[in-house]
């Protein structure tokens, strides 16, 4: 299914949207299409908002952000996010925030995926996080009497996962850092999978341990090579660190950020046009080969 159709059918105004991926496999292609289609009032949730949510905040898609670490990984700040929260001039409309730690967000997805109302964890005592976010609560263990932290389930309306490969039915395989994508997908009402390569079902069946998301929970499969750029896809392309560094200067200046969105997001019809504007990506970022040894699934 083309990205345009997947977003138009499965992402609605007001939705809680999760585009997961910890540094790795972040689906910028889907975020850009959501901006192009002018979605509004979204609650954007993910552990690390990264550049993609900074762009979506700047484009006015977001009403609220749910997160645990809002920075430019390895570089510095997300300035559209900061302007919105610090309410500086040039910022977008005030952004509501709901903040956890990574463990808290992981636990929220785990509860959502297991269809439990909350998840207990030993955390947050002594910190100011429960004061900043009253949804972080305390429960008493019925067996030991210990006071434990509790975080509420997170059940997104739609989760978008980028992966190396899937078959047409959405059986999805990924390798390298897998983050919290499995839990986020199982927690979600709808799931869009975006892949570097569409493969035959027989390829999936030849290595079933590598399947992270089964087709039965997937609503749409989109083939979008380089769809995670400027993040990376292990075995396909490296992170475009130059762009992450450049984002510091682009996002710091609202006018520059608008020009970026006009040129590379709103000003292109789709991902292939985005890539056509950046010749030389493959020469710069294509992954070297490091093949696994393979295993015998025979019996």
């Amino acid at each position: 299914m083309p990205m345009r159709e997947a977003v138009s059918r499965f992402v609605r105004d007001g939705d809680t949207v999760v585009i997961e991926g910890f540094t790795h496999l972040i689906c910028f292609a889907a975020g850009h299409e959501i901006i192009r289609q002018g979605r509004r009032d979204l609650t954007l949730a993910r552990l690390t908002p990264d550049l993609i949510y900074d762009q979506m905040i700047a484009a006015g898609c977001a009403r609220k952000l749910v997160f645990s670490w809002a920075g430019n990984p390895g570089v510095g700040s997300l300035h559209a996010f900061r302007r919105a929260v610090e309410r500086k001039t040039g910022g977008t409309a005030p952004l509501e925030i709901e903040e956890y730690s990574h463990f808290g967000m992981v636990a929220r997805f785990a509860a959502g995926a297991a269809r439990l109302p909350f998840w207990p964890l030993r955390n947050y005592a002594g910190t100011d996080l429960p004061r900043a976010n009253p949804r972080i609560q305390t429960v008493t263990c019925p067996y030991t009497g210990e006071a434990l932290a509790a975080v509420p389930a997170l059940n997104p309306d739609v989760t978008i996962v980028h992966a190396q490969r899937a078959d047409a039915a959405g059986n999805t395989q990924m390798w390298g850092l897998v983050g919290v994508q499995k839990e986020a997908a199982f927690a979600s009402a709808r799931v869009i999978v975006v892949v570097e390569e569409l493969v035959e079902e027989s390829v999936i069946r030849s290595d079933p341990n590598r399947t992270v998301i089964p087709g039965m929970i997937v609503n749409a499969v989109v083939r979008e090579p380089w769809g995670a750029h400027p993040s990376y896809a292990q075995g396909y392309y490296d992170r475009d660190n130059d762009f992450y560094v450049a984002w510091e200067g682009i996002s710091r200046d609202p006018a520059k950020l608008e020009r970026y969105l006009d040129e590379f997001v709103r000003g292109v019809p789709d991902r292939s046009a985005y890539l056509a504007r950046q010749p030389g990506l493959a020469a710069r970022l294509k992954a070297k080969e490091a093949l696994s040894a393979g295993v015998n699934y025979g019996f």
Binding site: F22, T23, H24, L47, T48, F67, S68, W69, A70, G71, P73, G74, S77, F81, R82, V85, E86, R87, E99, Y100, S101, H102, F103, V106, A107, F109, A110, L121, R122, N123, Y124, A125, G126, T127, D128, L129, R131, A132, E146, A147, W175, G176, L177, V178, G179, V180, K182, E183, Y232, Q234, D238, R239, N241, Y244, A287, A290
Partner: protein, 246 residues
């Protein structure tokens, strides 16, 4: 700082590694006295042997050749909360008298003067790692008597000791700065001056700290990095000076 941090790690220890200086310190330790150090990154790489200096905590070089890659639910539940992490490295915009760390906001939470990135995995690392090491440059604004926001708990949080709060780990035992090492006093939990870098006076350290700094009963002296450590840092581990500035 990287060499001092490296010297705090023992061979065979399991370390939860943050990006930047901690990463450099861990790889220096691995190249010198601690070849069997196990590096775990919150991104899910276990036993990582990065061939290049990772540009972020989720760098693909952490995956290639590692012992295991797991999901983040496993990182936090099966490794960290399970008690498998011996050392956690933390940094922060503010570190206070009791080793509480702020990486959330400068100013009031509802209307911050500066919005920082937030906890990431730091809150739970400070709770669960058997001990944590804080790495930060001395500066009175970075070392206030009390942080604006407690993101990661130290030895005492607003008057209550961490043990009373049910935290399994020992918390921040040392703060490695660019001029001295501070250490948590075993009785009071307060960060006190424990050792000076060569050529640094106690007054200079006090000038970078926003509370009256007590001294450990025996003040140590930090040895300067060896020629081999400097060579490894400058020529092998960070030749592009991504983290080795100043």
């Amino acid at each position: 700082m990287a060499a001092v941090a490296a010297s705090e790690l023992a061979d065979g220890e399991v370390v939860f590694v943050g990006i930047g200086l901690p990463n450099l310190a861990c790889n220096l330790a691995r190249a010198t006295h601690a070849p069997n150090l196990v590096l775990i990154y919150e991104s899910g790489a276990v036993g990582a042997v990065p061939e290049r200096l990772p540009v972020s905590i989720g760098d693909p070089a952490l995956v290639t050749g590692s012992l295991m890659v797991c999901g983040m639910a496993d990182v936090f539940q099966l490794f960290l909360q399970n008690g498998r992490i011996e050392v956690g490295f933390l940094g922060g915009a503010q570190v206070d008298r009791y080793g509480n760390i702020n990486t959330t906001v400068i100013g009031p939470y509802e209307r911050p003067a500066v919005r920082l990135p937030g906890s990431g995995g730091a809150a739970e690392i400070a709770v669960h790692a058997r001990r944590t090491l804080i790495v930060a440059k001395l500066n009175p604004r970075a070392f206030p008597e009390q942080v604006d926001f407690i993101t990661s708990p130290g030895q005492r949080c607003r008057g209550t000791a961490r043990r009373e709060l049910g935290m399994p780990g020992a918390g921040p035992v040392k703060v490695i700065t660019d001029k001295a090492i501070l250490a948590a006093d075993e009785t009071t939990g307060e960060m006190v001056l424990a050792a000076l870098y060569p050529g640094v006076s106690a007054d200079e350290v006090q000038a970078g700290v926003g509370w009256p700094l007590a001294r450990a009963s025996r003040l140590g002296a930090v040895a300067p990095p060896s020629g081999e450590e400097l060579r490894l840092l400058r020529e092998v581990l960070d030749p592009k000076k991504l983290y080795l500035r100043g």
